[in-house]
Symmetry: C2
């Protein structure tokens, strides 16, 4: 079964990804110990005094997709390890800066880095993490990957860095607007969430020996999975079971988050203005049932679920092009499916 | 004469560096036009409404050193153009973030990007500029540079990115300290200022066909020049002619800047405490003569000038190792000398 096989794979490779990342976040030089310590703090490897700790970390989904894609193309995951580490370092660089940009004060139940060390030092520590991501990528040659192949991987990596900033730019600019269209939202999550998942799979496939066409299909699989995953997250943000998600019912409404179901309703020609008016008032828990009724009338949930199915079909088609007819039995598909059908 | 030859070279290659950079800061996609526009604004190519303009730009010293180093090793500067553009883009990424980190509200007589678009969007635009620097580097292959050589250049580039963040980390941490030693200060400017100048020369030499030893010597030349240049700047920041520097006499004292002459005096066993006490009070123009007397008693100017001579000798030695016995007649030396002996 792909799921037990997947657990074994994750158990074997997760620690190796962690060590590959750790190599880049250490320094022998006392003068800059805090600079590197800040990065380790963000990763969950140190507390505020930079004493080593092991706080619960992220799922490391992206590096795992990279290694699985490499393996699915018949490559040795060990060869892709530097890229897997680089992708997760890049993801974490973007989290460090996003936390500043969004003013988020906690992450994984700990103060964000900027809350501990202030904004100036934390912008700079994020920049350093960005640079270590490239340092990691450039180690591919040490794993026997040829120079031209390493450059191909770097090409995809850099395009993704730019896509990430484009997505974040759009996300921030939406906060100041009341007229965000659903297509604009989809463009935003493509950059902010889906692009890096796409790159993880594409770079893994590339390093496993995939043809350029297969790499593109692998990227499409990752992008479509990322889109489905984000929209599923948007659904849970409103209709998810609080006992499972750990968030209040209607949480995204209370936060006035411009998620897909909310944007769909705001743009609805009949109930749009009603929801907008409601959200602009002093919106609280008492107004929640009224808002949920408006979403219902706009068919927001059905619409979002249809979008999830659409991207899920896209991802499934691209998967077969990238990884062949047996790919539905692969660990990579099992991992993607487990993310989509999670409840929290 | 190397200086007229240099003017011809700059006149020929500066516009080409500008176009190479411009290629990366454009987009066809309307949705993210502002994101790329912010970067063009910082470069002096657009105003706040993103209307094309040509404001006075920086000296583009680093990309010129890169092209000159390539030419000095017998290479075609055109081959190094992507690296030259990348180096200047990287320099400007660091300026965008430094302006936020230091709270600087103007640069070249215009509001800094964060003053126009706010901190969150500007952090993100800086990140995009960082990514475009890599995109530029990766174009070396299109200029006929081999994949292994491109990776060697990227290796130096990434190490320099990290060095920049280390320097900036130290610079910011010094602001909160009263016990900064001169050696710590030298370590800081090595990262913040000298490292990228070193990389500019080393990468240019590499692309021109220099051996690894010559590349290292080229880097040492650039680093030592950068150190001399920064310390010379520190001297001008206190004793420079206001009519030429455009800054008040004793400007760095008034700003309580921890520059080399000031740190030397603060650490002086006789007058150190006196200067510290003076600077901690409500320090203004009236206190300036007293402070200058203390710097004089500590021999601060003579010390700083001796340091400039020391790094200048180092740079001269490394130059000959990197570029051969005729290198003192080269344009690269002429450019380095012109920077050191400037008055503003």
């Amino acid at each position: 079964m792909a799921t037990t096989e997947l657990s074994t794979f994750l158990g074997r490779w997760l620690p190796r990804v962690e060590s590959a990342m750790r190599e880049h976040l250490q320094t022998e030089e006392q003068a800059v110990a805090q600079h590197y310590g800040m990065m380790r703090y963000h990763m969950g490897w140190a507390d505020e005094n930079l004493t080593p700790q092991n706080y619960p970390a992220g799922k490391r989904l992206r590096p795992m997709l990279c290694l699985l894609a490499c393996a699915a193309k018949g490559g040795d995951p060990a060869a892709a390890l530097p890229a897997a580490a680089a992708i997760e370092l890049l993801h974490n660089f973007s989290l460090i800066h996003d936390d500043i940009e969004d003013g988020d004060e906690t992450r994984r139940h700990r103060p964000t880095a900027w809350k501990v060390w202030g904004i100036p030092q934390t912008i700079n520590a994020g920049d350093a993490m960005f640079a270590t991501a490239y340092a990691a990528m450039q180690r591919l040659a040490r794993r026997g990957i040829s120079a031209p192949m390493t450059l191909d991987a770097l090409q995809r990596f850099t395009a993704t860095c730019l896509a990430l900033t484009e997505g974040q730019h759009l996300d921030m600019s939406f906060e100041e607007r009341n007229d965000v269209a659903v297509t604009e939202y989809l463009r935003m999550i493509r950059g902010k969430t889906a692009a890096l998942i796409g790159a993880s799979v594409a770079i893994g496939a590339l390093l496993g020996g995939a043809s350029p066409e297969e790499q593109d299909a692998a990227e499409q699989f990752g992008i479509a999975s990322g889109m489905a995953f984000q929209i599923q997250d948007d659904i849970l943000g409103i209709w998810g079971d609080p006992a499972i998600t750990g968030k209040a019912a209607g949480n995204d409404l209370l936060r006035r988050k411009k998620s897909l179901p909310i944007l769909h309703t705001i743009n609805h020609e009949v109930v749009g203005i009603e929801l907008m008016t409601l959200l602009h008032r002093d919106f609280g828990v008492e107004e929640l049932p009224a808002a949920l009724t408006l979403l219902e009338r706009a068919g927001a949930r059905a619409y979002a679920e249809e979008q999830v199915r659409y991207y899920h079909r896209q991802s499934s088609d691209a998967l077969l092009t990238a990884f062949g007819p047996q790919a539905k039995e692969s660990m990579i598909w099992a991992l993607a499916e487990s993310l989509l059908y999670r409840q929290s």
